[in-house]
């Protein structure tokens, strides 16, 4: 609201409030008018002269930059794997994952909910699938090791991935390991028995050998005695 008795700059720049019959103006007396004050400000003093740089640059010798050597080119033959084609990764598209997860996250239809249809439905808020419902990939996936060929298992298991085995199969494996341990102990005992049998057999062979030697000696004595007279 312009005031009649005020000058133009007051009516233009200052705010005037009317409270009841009293006009109150908040004068911008403490603030500077930048446009007016910038023109009135004095210029700052000149900076001191720089020593050594006051020379004329036109006196500097002109360098011929065309004589500079060319940049070296990197030989292609030394680049390892330059001729190897880059592998084609078959990544699933992101939107497909998001759509699949959105399908899975849809709640099942409720039946026999009377009265809900009469209530006003709140407008559905748009859901940003790109930030909220990105499915968290599992850190490890259980792999069934049963009835799978060993080579196929090794091919399917990527390096650095955690593996899990069912607890019942784990317990079965532990039981089998205990049975194998007891069988190995039995086999060791059997081997000890066989070593004892072999030692006894060697002893018997030595006895037979000595008996045969004695027999041969006696036979030679009999032979000499019988045919000495002839």
């Amino acid at each position: 609201m312009p005031l009649r008795n005020a000058n133009k700059s007051f009516n233009k720049n200052d705010i005037v409030y009317q409270i009841g019959c009293v006009l109150v103006g908040f004068l911008k007396l403490l603030k500077r008018n930048k446009k007016e004050n910038l023109e009135d400000l004095d210029l700052p003093p000149e900076p001191p002269p720089l020593e050594g740089f006051e020379e004329d640059f036109s006196k500097l010798p002109e360098e011929d930059f065309s004589k500079l050597p060319d940049l070296p080119t990197f030989p292609e033959g030394e680049i390892s794997g330059s001729d190897i084609p880059m592998p084609q990764f078959d990544f699933p598209e992101r939107m497909e994952i998001i759509q699949d997860s959105a399908k899975e996250s849809i709640a099942p239809e409720f039946t026999n909910l009377s009265g809900i249809g009469e209530m006003p439905m709140a407008p559905a808020e748009p859901v940003d699938f790109s930030t909220e419902l990105i499915p968290e990939l599992p850190q490890s996936t259980p792999i069934e090791l049963k009835n799978v060929p060993e080579e196929a298992q090794l091919k399917e298991i990527p390096s650095g991935k955690t593996l899990y085995v069912r607890v019942d199969e784990f317990k079965t494996t532990l039981g089998s390991i205990n049975i194998i341990r007891s069988d190995l102990r039995k086999a060791e005992e059997t081997l000890m028995k066989l070593e004892g049998i072999k030692t006894a057999k060697d002893k018997s062979f030595d006895e037979v050998r000595s008996a045969l030697d004695d027999l041969q000696k006696r036979l030679i004595f009999v032979d000499k005695t019988l045919f000495k007279g002839e």
Binding site: S140, E150, Q153, I157, L163, Y164, V165, R166, V167, L226
Partner: protein
Amino acid sequence: MKEQRSGMPVFVKIDEYKEILDVIDMIKGKIKEIRETLGSIDRLRNDESAELTMWNNNLSEIEKKIDVIDKILFEPEQT
């Protein structure tokens, strides 16, 4: 196992799966080697049994001949 619900599979983490597979392969190789050694021992036992049988027959022949000689030398009156 108390926490395991009925029908819910519970898994045990295996850290060194490939190393276990390598050890199992090595055990299989050792078992195969032991089986071959047992077959070799079985063959040696059969050969030993054949030699012992032949040795027994040879000893029987020697025994018979000794009996003949004994009869010839120490029973001259009867012949």
